[in-house]
């Protein structure tokens, strides 16, 4: 399809996407959750009429605003990056992928943009009730925007509701609801947003713990912790529940990702989860090296996670690469062969059509249709290419899962001591609360690494590898923009953190 494939352009484009997405995800989870927390706080203010709750709301809103601005700044790049760095992708799947992005703009961004101004500057311009409504609208708008972009991402993981059109050489949508209601769309949305709620709860808990440790704003801090620990506990339980669902659908639709997450090279019945392990980074498909340098396994757990059936078979990387007749698994090796035929017949169809030879064209098309499901594999050069980086995927998954489990315990502790009224005496908990705020960030980023690195080499799972999806452009351009964004985002992040720390130091206004 492409005459020459310039790997360095695709790698710079991938690096740029990773950079911008990971920067964006520093700000988005806080936006998703903090806006709901602000809405809770303001609801309590409107219900009770107490000025203290208003000042508390305004304080968290101020921090929200600082974070929101840089979230917007990093977000615009992500949307347009699909065009600038992934032009072939934009054409080949734009018919499906563009829709959720446009819907995001229509139904979500305008809610945020319109009501944001009321939230910040409308205290004396609109009624109390309308102000509260506006805050809720910003919360709903932010989360709706997450919904649509995650529908888009879910479709990249599990492409559905579409068909390839050989005349336009692109995938075209066949069923909008299949795209929107796909299990991946739902799983991505619930898992990512609830993880944002949990992180935001830790943000509030960490800052409030800092105030308690310093004996400043004690009443406000305790109130904030009370609300945030309840929200955080519910959210973190949801994260665990939706995470289990994510692993289950990975087992069905992205078995290679699941195998990489657990470093499972040879499929087995009663497959274990590796609770702790050091991956042998040198291992390649088909060799006889040990997959782990050190490992501590929990037998049978992966079978349960992947199939919800004790003792069931979970395919490993080698089964997926070379195939496994016993379990009816077609290997990548086989799929590449079929894919090459699809590529060849598509080219023949195109050439015949151009030449006006209709018989030849229809013959070529019939042959293409036999192999079209493997078109994406036709662009791979070796089966090894279909294996994602195992170490990165494995470690990211395990860090995420470990932190996710820890979060539940910490939220429980904060809630327990708040309910007992002894949160002020249990000062030992504060540094742990602050630490978990940082860990929640790491877990969130690690989660995206699992989701995206774990499905390499695919831009669209099984259909479109990243090396075909990229723009035809000299690497120097993408390299230059990579560093432009790196420098700009880093400087803006430093500015954001400094401003944030200063505002935390100033603290909320005390009501006399």
């Amino acid at each position: 399809m492409l005459e020459q494939i310039d790997l360095s352009t695709v790698n710079w484009a991938r690096a740029q996407f990773a950079l911008t997405a990971m920067y964006h995800w520093l700000f988005v989870p806080l936006t998703l959750g903090l806006t709901f927390l602000c809405a809770f706080f303001e609801t309590i203010y409107v219900k009770t009429g107490k000025e203290e709750w208003k000042e508390l709301t305004k304080f968290w809103m101020k921090l929200f605003g600082i974070n929101f601005a840089i979230g917007v700044a990093t977000g615009i790049i992500l949307e347009f990056e699909f065009g600038t760095n992934w032009a072939n992708y934009s054409w080949m799947v734009g018919d499906i992928f563009g829709a959720p992005l446009a819907i995001e703009g229509i139904v979500a961004f305008f809610l945020e943009a319109t009501f944001f101004a009321v939230m910040f500057f409308g205290w004396n311009r609109v009624s109390k009730g309308f102000h509260l409504l506006s805050t809720w609208m910003v919360a709903i708008g932010s989360n709706l925007s997450a919904l649509w972009i995650l529908v888009a991402n879910g479709w990249m993981q599990f492409p559905t509701g579409m068909a390839f059109n050989p005349d336009t050489a692109r995938f075209e949508m066949q069923n909008f609801f299949d795209v929107v209601l796909s299990p991946y769309a739902i799983s991505k949305f619930t898992h990512a947003t609830t993880s944002g709620f949990a992180l935001s709860s830790f943000f509030v808990i960490a800052i409030s713990s800092y105030y308690l440790a310093r004996r400043r704003h004690v009443k406000m801090a305790k109130r904030s912790i009370a609300v945030a620990s309840v929200f955080g506990l519910i959210a973190s339980l949801m994260v665990a529940f939706t995470g289990d669902e994510a692993a289950f659908i990975d087992g069905k639709h992205q078995p290679m990702k699941l195998a990489a997450m657990e470093g499972l090279w040879d499929g087995q019945k009663n497959a274990p989860v590796v609770a702790f392990g050091i991956v042998n980074g040198m291992k390649e498909p088909g060799d006889f090296q040990d997959p782990f340098v050190v490992e501590f396994k929990i037998p049978g757990l992966l079978s349960l996670l992947a199939n919800r059936q004790a003792g069931s078979f979970v395919p490993g990387i080698n089964d997926l690469v070379f195939g496994n007749k016993d379990y009816n698994i077609t290997g990548v090796t086989d799929m590449i062969k079929k894919g090459k035929r699809a590529v060849k017949y598509l080219a023949e169809y195109k050439a015949a059509k151009k030449a006006g030879d209709l018989t030849k064209a229809s013959n070529a098309l019939a042959l293409f249709n036999q192999y079209k499901d493997f078109l994406g594999y036709g662009h791979l050069d070796s089966p090894k290419e279909a294996v994602p980086p195992v170490s990165i995927t494995f470690y990211s998954f395990h860090i995420m899962a470990a932190v996710g489990t820890g979060m539940i315990i910490i939220f429980l502790l904060y809630l327990f001591f708040t309910a007992k009224g002894t949160i002020e005496r249990n000062t030992w908990l504060y540094p742990i609360g602050i630490l978990f705020f940082v860990l929640a960030y790491i877990a969130g980023e690690a989660g995206w690494v699992v989701a995206e690195v774990g499905r390499q080499p695919w831009a669209i799972q099984g259909l479109l590898p990243v090396k075909v999806a990229r723009t035809d452009i000299a690497p120097v351009n993408v390299k230059l923009t990579f560093f432009m964004f790196l420098i700009t985002f880093t400087l803006l992040l430093i500015a954001e953190v400094k401003i944030m720390l200063k505002q935390i130091q100033i603290g909320p206004k005390e009501v006399k």
Binding site: V72, I77, G83, T84, N88, S90, G98, G105, R170, M173
Partner: protein, 381 residues
């Protein structure tokens, strides 16, 4: 009813919707225009703060409209999205860059410990207002003057110059359109400030703002003239409706206006409204000019987009290979997707209604200098 629309109707409808969003964006560039007036009109901290807080409550609306313009084009005309963003790479990157620095500047400018100090953030706003809008205008100019790309049989883009879109800045028509949009944004910005700020006790500030309306309009006239003369006299890209073959045609865009008289009327009405707004603001001391100039800008924008895309005209033509040119018919999404998106678009009136309602709620009282001082000062931009 929507389900029974044929593909060509949907393609025309989505070019219309895209044109509306693009034209509304041009109106909302009063924010960018205002950003370039901060130093010129604001002679002290209070005046500067008034300007920034006035337009600062609308910046996200402009930003979001730009994002939607991109998103709508992606969904409706993905080939344009792929060809232009991937092809004219550096123009879009430069535009986006000015919007990144804009997004943080209102919020961070006055906050303590902001790393750069307020002047740098004001400079970011200035750059966004000048460079951002100039390049957007230049990019729109290529809808008429053409770009340098070839599409292969898989519809994948290859750009034929290493300048990746920056070469558009060599064309006087493109650049004039860009400069005109910058100056028009400044006219709109000054008009918006006149309408939005309570100038009581600040007569000199108000006079300066009124004068800026006229001076920027006068400065824009030569560029408007170049654009209009260029548009009416240049050879344009034409699609043969029978064969679909694209060729050059003398006076193509003049012909479009004559063959679509409604577009000509829209264009002239739009220009007339802008002139009326400038006149009423400067010579009749009226403060409502923004509404006339705003509507006028929207109408001019619509006329420009309609001339570019309707009447058998490729809206994103290629100079390098005429047959690679993008038309609303060959660049669009499938029938199914356009239909689905049209159902979604039914929500747009609701969106416009709540934006208008909130706008009215927030701006019914003019912005006073006193609001920006006192105990609540730190809650403003």
């Amino acid at each position: 009813m929507i389900g029974s629309l044929d593909l060509a109707t949907l393609q025309k409808l989505w070019w219309l919707l895209g044109s509306v969003v693009g034209s509304l964006f041009l109106f909302l560039t009063f924010v960018q225009g205002g950003q370039t007036l901060i130093w010129q009109l604001g002679k002290n901290e209070t005046e500067k703060s008034l300007i920034i807080n006035s337009i600062g409550r609308k910046w996200e609306l402009t930003f979001t409209t730009l994002v939607l313009f991109g998103g709508a084009l992606f969904a409706a005309f993905p080939k344009f999205y792929a060809t232009s963003f991937g092809g004219a790479y550096w123009v879009w990157i430069a535009i986006l860059f000015t919007f990144i620095v804009q997004a943080v500047s209102f919020e961070y400018r006055k906050k303590p410990e902001n790393l750069f100090g307020p002047t740098v953030y004001e400079a970011f706003l200035f750059i966004n207002g000048v460079v951002g809008i100039l390049l957007i205008g230049t990019a729109v100019g290529t809808f008429f003057t053409g770009s340098n790309f070839v599409l292969n049989e898989y519809n994948l883009v290859k750009w034929t110059t290493p300048w990746r879109g920056l070469e558009a800045a060599q064309n006087i028509f493109n650049v004039s359109l860009g400069i005109f949009l910058v100056l028009n944004a400044r006219v709109l910005g000054a008009l918006y400030l006149l309408n939005n700020i309570d100038f009581s006790g600040m007569d000199a500030f108000k006079t300066r703002t009124r004068n800026a309306v006229l001076s920027n309009f006068v400065a824009s006239l030569p560029f408007l003239l170049i654009v209009l003369i260029g548009l009416l006299t240049m050879d344009g890209f034409n699609i043969d409706p029978a064969t679909g073959i694209v060729s050059m045609m003398p006076f193509k865009y003049l012909k479009n206006l004559i063959e679509m008289p409604i577009v000509l009327i829209i264009l002239l009405t739009g220009l007339g409204l802008v002139i009326f707004a400038v006149y009423s603001a400067r010579f009749q001391n009226k403060d409502s000019g923004i509404w006339f100039a705003g509507l006028g800008t929207v109408l001019v924008g619509l006329a420009v987009f309609f001339t570019a895309g309707y009447n058998h005209t490729p809206f994103y033509p290629s100079k390098a290979d005429l047959q690679s040119s993008l038309t609303i018919f060959n660049a669009s999404s499938s029938h199914y997707t356009l239909t689905a998106m049209t159902y979604v678009a039914l929500i747009i009136p609701v969106v416009l209604a709540y934006i208008a309602y909130v706008w009215k709620q927030m701006d019914s009282k003019k912005l006073k200098a006193q609001e920006l001082e006192g105990p609540e000062a730190s809650e403003n931009y």
